[in-house]
């Protein structure tokens, strides 16, 4: 990621924390090669990080797991930090999350440990211009592609040059983060082998709580609760999508996420909506989640409204509110 001799713009990683990866909205049209989609786990927080900077919807940002990230500005730049609450400082001085933020060359940005939730997003005006794989900057660590891994100390994250801050800093409205503070209820669209599950097991799925287990990563989160009594047997492997809930023989559901495999042979009662995958992904081990049934059209409408808001709203001059065009 270093361009010798070139003028350097962007950030230099001092400490990536436990794990930090570059993510955009993921890869398209490559899953039939066995490649995962990848992409940000929490669509809402990542979109708000970009919206604060008027970025392209697909601009690449850093997805930081549990915080502890430090970086130095190589040039003047404007950044934003969203997602799980953490103490953030610039040169040791506290600054706010969910706002746009100006960094001068040499400034040190430090993101502390995430409280209550798991994922923090760091965006930069214009997006990080790191290497692309298959038309996307999303990093899928488990595929082991050369150079396609988590950030390391001293990595440089290039971005476009930036002159000076224009206008007031943007401050995200409460709707940007309020959803994260709500008890996590995840919309589940019935599908795949829904009809092969026992009615009592389907009822259990939406009436009991599940705890997020320690075995949770970008591929999927294992959930622990009252196990299903009689899940259907394995099936002939079929194409699976991020958000699908698969239930192996032990009856404990696994929620598949952005880096999940492309085909699989466990039965699945349904798929979590794209926005609620983010709400699940934000939960720490031990957190309790519930499911509720929804339907495809409702989920698609919810997602479309979210995307329309991104594309069709503009910031007010004082940077404190958004207005529909």
């Amino acid at each position: 990621m270093k361009g010798p001799g070139a003028i350097r713009h962007g950030l230099r990683v001092i400490n990536p924390g436990i794990k930090a990866t570059i993510q955009d909205l993921g890869r398209k049209g490559i899953r039939h090669h066995g490649l995962a989609r990848g992409g940000v786990l929490d669509l809402r927080s990542a979109a708000w990080a970009n919206k604060l900077l008027d970025n392209d919807r697909n601009a690449a940002c850093v997805e930081i797991v549990l915080g502890g990230f430090r970086a130095e500005a190589l040039s003047a730049c404007e950044v934003s930090i969203t997602g799980a609450r953490a103490d953030v400082t610039v040169n040791g001085k506290p600054v706010e999350m969910w706002q746009s933020l100006f960094l001068a060359p040499g400034d040190e940005l430090a993101i502390g440990h995430a409280r209550h939730h798991r994922l923090i997003y760091l965006a930069i005006r214009g997006g990080f211009e790191t290497k692309e794989w298959f038309g996307s900057r999303s990093v899928v660590e488990r595929e082991g592609l050369e150079g396609c891994g988590p950030l390391q100390p001293e990595d440089e994250l290039p971005a476009d040059s930036f002159d000076a801050p224009q206008g007031a800093p943007r401050i995200a409205p409460p709707q940007a983060w309020q959803w994260l503070e709500c008890p996590p209820v995840l919309g589940l669209i019935p599908g795949y082998q829904f009809n092969q599950f026992q009615p009592a097991d389907l009822r259990r799925l939406v009436t009991t709580e599940y705890a997020v287990s320690d075995e949770s990563d970008r591929m999927g989160y294992r959930l622990a609760g009252t196990p299903m009594a009689d899940p259907p047997p394995g099936i002939v492997s079929e194409g699976i999508v991020p958000g699908a809930i698969q239930v192996p023989g032990d009856g404990q559901p696994i929620a598949l996420l952005a880096d999940c495999q492309t085909i699989g042979g466990y039965p699945k009662p349904g798929v979590i909506t794209s926005l609620d995958c983010g709400l699940l992904a934000q939960q720490l081990p031990g957190a309790r989640v519930r499911f509720e049934w929804t339907d495809v059209l409702s989920a698609q409408n919810q997602r479309r409204l979210f995307e329309r808001h991104y594309h069709q709203t503009v910031w007010s001059e004082d940077g404190r509110s958004l207005h529909w065009r």
Binding site: H32, F134, E143, V236, I263
Partner: protein, 227 residues
């Protein structure tokens, strides 16, 4: 049968059980969908008995996407046509160096099955296999059906590292590991062909047919094989 698989995908089912006639039918539908150049189509993921159609739910909703695909299903070719098409589907030859040093389970399979090592090799190279699906890892093609007389279950404890190019058997399936990875298939040899790279992506596609050809140690090394 078309059903929704979450917010951004439709699953088309062609049958309930593995059937060697299906990969050609599914590949044919893929071609017909691709020919339409649908602006909302994101990806097509074929597997044994299904085709997953991934679309952009911002551009089209589930009802319209279903309605657009539905007429294509009634045009699904008959079994006879499919057989004729299967004959023209791509046939790929994969060279394999079958040996003790590249196939640590070769002798075990021979012993379990009461065969000589050469008989196991002969039976693995005798058939032409269908590629049913790509998955598990980039470029990993699930192929079948392996002669029942050499079919064997996965290892009880998977290996933590299977070398790139390893050719394995799991029940009636066979595959080549494109990259080093953990894996539980019984290993019988190694293939020097590159099955996945970042530029050309997966060499194998669902619907292709594959024949394994036995090569010597010298040929394996000459073709870039690693020991």
């Amino acid at each position: 049968m078309i059903e929704a698989a979450g917010e951004d995908a439709l699953l088309i089912r062609f049958g309930d059980a593995i059937d060697s006639a299906l990969p050609a039918q599914i590949a044919d539908l893929c071609q017909r969908i691709e020919a339409l150049e649908l602006p909302w189509l994101v990806d097509l993921v074929p597997s044994y008995t299904t085709l997953l159609v991934i679309y952009d739910p911002i551009t089209i909703n589930v009802l319209d996407a279903k309605a657009r695909l539905h007429p294509l299903l009634s045009e699904t070719p008959s079994a006879d046509q499919t057989k004729a098409e299967a004959a023209d589907s791509r046939l790929i030859e994969l060279p394999v160096y079958y040996s003790e040093e590249t196939g640590p389970d070769l002798a075990w399979i021979a012993e379990q099955k009461g065969l000589s090592v050469q008989q196991v090799i002969d039976r693995h190279t005798a058939d032409t296999y269908q590629v049913y699906a790509i998955g598990f890892a980039p470029g990993f093609g699930f192929m079948g059906q392996v002669d029942p007389t050499i079919a064997c279950p996965r290892k009880d404890t998977p290996r933590t590292k299977v070398p790139a190019g390893s050719v394995g058997i799991a029940n009636q399936q066979t595959a080549v590991y494109p990259k080093p990875s953990p894996g539980g298939w019984q290993l019988i040899g190694r293939c020097p062909t590159v099955l996945f790279d970042e530029e050309n992506l997966s060499l194998l596609k669902a619907g292709d047919r594959v024949r394994f050809v036995s090569i010597s140690r010298e040929e394996y090394l000459a073709q870039g094989g690693q020991l």
